[in-house]
């Protein structure tokens, strides 16, 4: 050594992993944080909703009490009209009753689990397809099959899928299939992977040219290692963002389907079919559409806020603040 090593060893600031840094940035974003709290609350509601409406029935969404129909929120159940075992928990209708005297609060609880599970599973399916096809296209895109490349094949198929008006495609398919919550999840998943595929491909194309990926090849790493150790961790951030917003879209789609009567079938409650039932009584019982409508709005908004917050926090260009 021609020089003293101490000369250029500088003291570094405290260590921080890239994920820790993103978390720190995310915490600074007030709106996104509010969205995140709403989502955590929703998650609890959904899980408790499932448990309390179906397994340990505390709130029964299916009890019909015709004498107590169209009660506004926060009304007490009158003991004379309803048999004791049909009365709501605590004797109060927190969110009122509908045209059959069913407890709207219980129905909303049941619906929250449906909405959330449809959102997550549909997005899971669409991510799996999107990442697989996008990754193939981005990494092995130059491989040729006769006159066309893998890239051309996959991306033109993606374009074709994008040409269909998704909602009407889903409507048609759901109308043909037996109505079940699983079919709806699968169909939404199968028709919403195109965006993910496109930007996973774009990320992969950009990453493949990056020096650190070339470096991995030059030290002798195999394709598998290059893809999973170097490219996927760097491509995952935007996928996460679009997944978050994708959940919101899936929830909206499910609500739309249920509203039109093609979704989850009654008596099973979802936010969409509560809304649909309520639309006939807008002037007599406004809470019947206002409550599920607000719930959908708040949840979709929360997912979008969190998505936007993640986008900001994970953006390397906005780093070092």
């Amino acid at each position: 050594m021609t020089e003293d090593p101490k000369q250029y060893v500088e003291e570094l600031p405290p260590s921080e992993t890239p994920w820790q840094e993103s978390l720190r940035l995310f915490r600074k974003d007030r709106l996104a944080l509010v969205g995140a709290y709403v989502l955590v609350l929703l998650l609890f509601t959904a899980v408790f909703g499932k448990v309390l409406t179906e397994w340990v029935v505390v709130f029964d969404p299916e009890v019909v009490r015709l004498p107590e129909k169209f009660l506004p929120p926060l009304t007490f159940s009158s003991t004379d009209d309803v048999p004791a075992h049909d009365r709501p928990f605590g004797g109060i209708y927190l969110l009122g009753t509908d045209e059959l005297g069913r407890d709207v609060f219980a129905r909303m609880l049941q619906g929250s689990f449906v909405s959330l599970s449809i959102g997550f599973i549909a997005v899971g399916i669409s991510l799996a397809i999107g990442i697989l096809l996008g990754g193939l296209s981005g990494f092995y895109g130059n491989v040729r099959f006769g006159v066309v490349t893998v890239d051309t094949l996959i991306m033109r198929f993606t374009d074709v899928m994008l040409c269909f008006p998704t909602f009407f495609l889903i409507l048609t398919v759901v109308a043909l299939l037996p109505p079940s919550i699983y079919n709806i999840m699968i169909v939404i998943g199968l028709t919403s992977w195109m965006g993910t595929a496109r930007f996973v491909r774009a990320e992969f194309l950009a990453l493949r040219k990056q020096d650190f990926v070339v470096a991995a090849t030059s030290v002798g790493a195999r394709d598998r290692r290059v893809i999973f150790a170097h490219m996927v961790p760097n491509a995952i951030a935007p996928v996460l963002v679009s997944a978050t917003i994708g959940v919101a879209t899936a929830i909206l789609t499910e609500s739309g389907l249920s509203f039109l009567g093609f979704g989850v079938q009654p008596p099973y409650a979802t936010w969409g079919n509560i809304l649909a039932d309520g639309k006939g009584f807008i002037f007599d019982a406004p809470w019947l559409f206002f409550i599920p409508g607000m719930a959908i709005l708040v949840v979709v908004l929360a997912f979008n806020l969190v998505g936007e917050g993640l986008r900001e926090a994970l953006n390397p260009k906005l780093r070092r603040r």
């Binding site: 570094l12 890239p18 066309v148 070339v214 991995a216 030290v219 150790a229 170097h230 780093r319």
Partner: protein, 339 residues
């Protein structure tokens, strides 16, 4: 330092140059139309021939876009060549199957220009430097950690930098990490692709000194690709000047700077700023711009801008001319000296 010392002597009894590049060609297709038909070729590297001896620093200079980076990457077969041969320690690199190539890559490494994009932002310094050892199953567990720490030490970083992430380091420190990664496998040849160009001058000096020390210690050969004449003058034993995908002149460093023959080399040297502002030197100004490699000029590629252009320069490729004795190793591709 244990383990990291290279074996002495030539493996397999191979004598002669470490790396022999013969008529290397790399054309990039320009695709257009519905079925991506090739409509034109960019001739990034066209018939480049040179060799690198063990322990030597071979400088490759030229302006942006002349194909020097492509030479570096093709020589490591990070890009597939269009034509020509590269033999490394006597083995034909382009004929190797994937397995042999992976094994051979242990002996040839690359250091990149941009210290910000050459390190995976989501990996710790330790796993970046240790990756080559892991990939080739050369060390694991405690042993791996020890060797990585030795490497970090050797390039002037501290072992406690091991768990940190690349974004926490300065440009010079990142370049040291890149060098440690290249050193991990005990290579014979390191391609330094503009390895100091992105650093400021004082850091440049530190990295250059580090490279020189490592060369002396491990008997490394460097293919040093740069546009900075001062750096190659200091570092290189021999220098090749490249223009538009072809070599213009190859000479020992001292000869090139004192007695450049090719008009392009002369112009290039005259553009190099001297440290003493009072010394006036004649500037050779070239007219026009570098022609596009999509459609390079016929004959000598430099004829469109050459101050000494002759009629036959425009049609006939310039031959290889030895200046002085062949042992002197001064070669120039120019019609001016063919008489």
């Amino acid at each position: 330092m244990v383990d990291v010392k290279p074996s002495d002597g030539q493996p397999g009894g191979h004598a002669g140059p470490l790396l022999q590049v013969t008529n290397l060609k790399k054309y990039f297709p320009v695709r257009s139309g519905l079925f991506s038909n090739v409509s034109a070729w960019v001739k990034a590297v066209d018939d480049v021939t040179f060799d690198i001896r063990p322990g030597e620093t071979f400088g490759l200079v030229g302006e942006s876009g002349c194909g020097k980076t492509t030479v570096g990457r093709t020589v490591l077969r990070l890009q597939e060549p269009t034509g020509g041969d590269v033999s490394f320690e006597g083995q034909d690199l382009f004929a190797m199957d994937a397995k042999t190539l992976r094994a051979t890559r242990r002996r040839m490494q690359i250091v990149f220009q941009d210290p910000y994009s050459s390190l995976n932002p989501r990996m710790t310094v330790g796993s970046i430097v240790g990756e080559p050892l892991k990939v080739h199953h050369l060390a694991k567990g405690r042993d791996l950690t020890d060797r990585v720490c030795q490497l970090l030490n050797r390039v002037g970083l501290r072992p406690d930098h091991y768990p940190r992430y690349p974004h926490e380091f300065s440009g010079g420190q990142r370049q040291r990490i890149g060098i440690a990664r290249a050193l991990a496998l005990n290579p014979k040849l390191i391609v330094c692709d503009e390895a100091v160009s992105a650093l400021d001058v004082s850091i440049q000096a530190q990295i250059i000194n580090l490279l020189k020390d490592l060369q002396a210690e491990y008997r490394l050969s460097y293919l040093f690709i740069t546009h900075d004449l001062n750096v190659v003058q200091y570092l290189a034993d021999r220098i090749a000047v490249m223009y538009l995908g072809k070599l213009a002149e190859v000479a020992p460093a001292a000869t090139l700077f004192s007695d450049a023959k090719h008009p392009y080399t002369q112009a290039l040297l005259s553009a190099n700023p001297l440290p003493d502002p009072t010394v006036k030197h004649e500037r050779i100004l070239l007219p026009g711009d570098v022609p596009t490699p999509l459609n390079p000029p016929t004959g000598c590629r430099f004829h469109t801008r050459c101050p000494h252009v002759m009629e036959h320069c425009k049609t006939i490729d310039p031959p290889l001319i030895q200046i002085g004795k062949p042992e002197a190793g001064h070669k120039v591709w120019c019609h001016l000296y063919s008489g």
